[in-house]
Symmetry: C2
Subunit: 195 residues, 2 copies
Amino acid sequence: MGNKENTHKNIVETAFKMFSDNGFDKTSLSMIAKEVGISKPAIYYYFESKEQLIDYIFDEICKEIEHQNDFSLDRISIDNFEAELISIGYRMIEEHEHDEYFNKIFNEYILLASRNEKYRNRLYEIQKGYLTTYYDLLKFGVEIGAVSAGNIESKANLLGMLIDNIGNFMLTGFQLDYRGIWKEAVTSVLKEDKS
Amino acid sequence: MGNKENTHKNIVETAFKMFSDNGFDKTSLSMIAKEVGISKPAIYYYFESKEQLIDYIFDEICKEIEHQNDFSLDRISIDNFEAELISIGYRMIEEHEHDEYFNKIFNEYILLASRNEKYRNRLYEIQKGYLTTYYDLLKFGVEIGAVSAGNIESKANLLGMLIDNIGNFMLTGFQLDYRGIWKEAVTSVLKEDKS
DNA sequence: GTCTATAAGCAGATAGAC
DNA sequence: GTCTATCTGCTTATAGAC
């Protein structure tokens, strides 16, 4: 009874870590069971198949992303718009620095999604929401006069895609001045149009 | 005799396509052999192991990238600098549009590299060279007076990382105005500094 | 060079006892 | 809930004939 939830949690957390370390295909249920300290059939008491375990973790990850993806516009004014935008990126970079597993397994799911429709739609919505956040932010910036009105959509996509790839580059262990890059991007985008 | 090179080529090309479609782990040597129209042991005549086949294709891909990664600065002047930079990105976008397999298998190798040192160093050098190209371009732009001198490195990394992720986004089937995003990035980066 | 036959091992998954 | 024992199928890889 009390143990049931515990074992379930152990399986999920161990699988998450091992999938992240080795990938889905190179992590067998036997390996997970051994690491958890149970037998392989015990996993089948909680999950119908390996695929269902992978799907369960996918769902958990998606929920977490969807949840953390809405930051409020409350504190933002014309005076601190640029600084706030910069610090949003800084916060993302910081999260990545303390989060070795998440990005790795997420890339695993992205590759899965490129071949399996089941994961594609959900990730599509996440990516869309992700870019939309930057769009809403810049649109708000236009309203309060902190951003010039041209090409808001492209600017938003530019920022969203850049911060996304900063996460990927960090994953590969590439050492760059990511904060400097992000700051440069924000200030460049917010610069007045010449014309 | 004449057949030897042909079979070798068939194996490599078929494997490339199938690895791209299904991933390494979900493409067995039996599947490749069947698709080529030979028996499985025939593959072992050309490659010692599956891993060696994967490595061979990795080497081919790296060589191709390294080769196509140097565009000359000859045609570039102060008058056409921005336009040339924009068209460099456009050309990359166009390549991606006609190249369904390359990006997919390349991402497969990136994920491999995140777990296997053997692939890591080579990809590291490619990524570095990639970003360096944009750095050299911008530095040249500074010399001829087409770019203001501040933060060249961050600007170069920004452009390099953006065009890289444009490729990734295209892979996922995400429909965006990638040319507009790239153009916005280039013009933003080349805008005069306010101060 | 390419084949048939086969070895050895591990994968996902199930039966059934406790 | 968790176990031991087991099934089926597929994997990489090899032996040896032609």
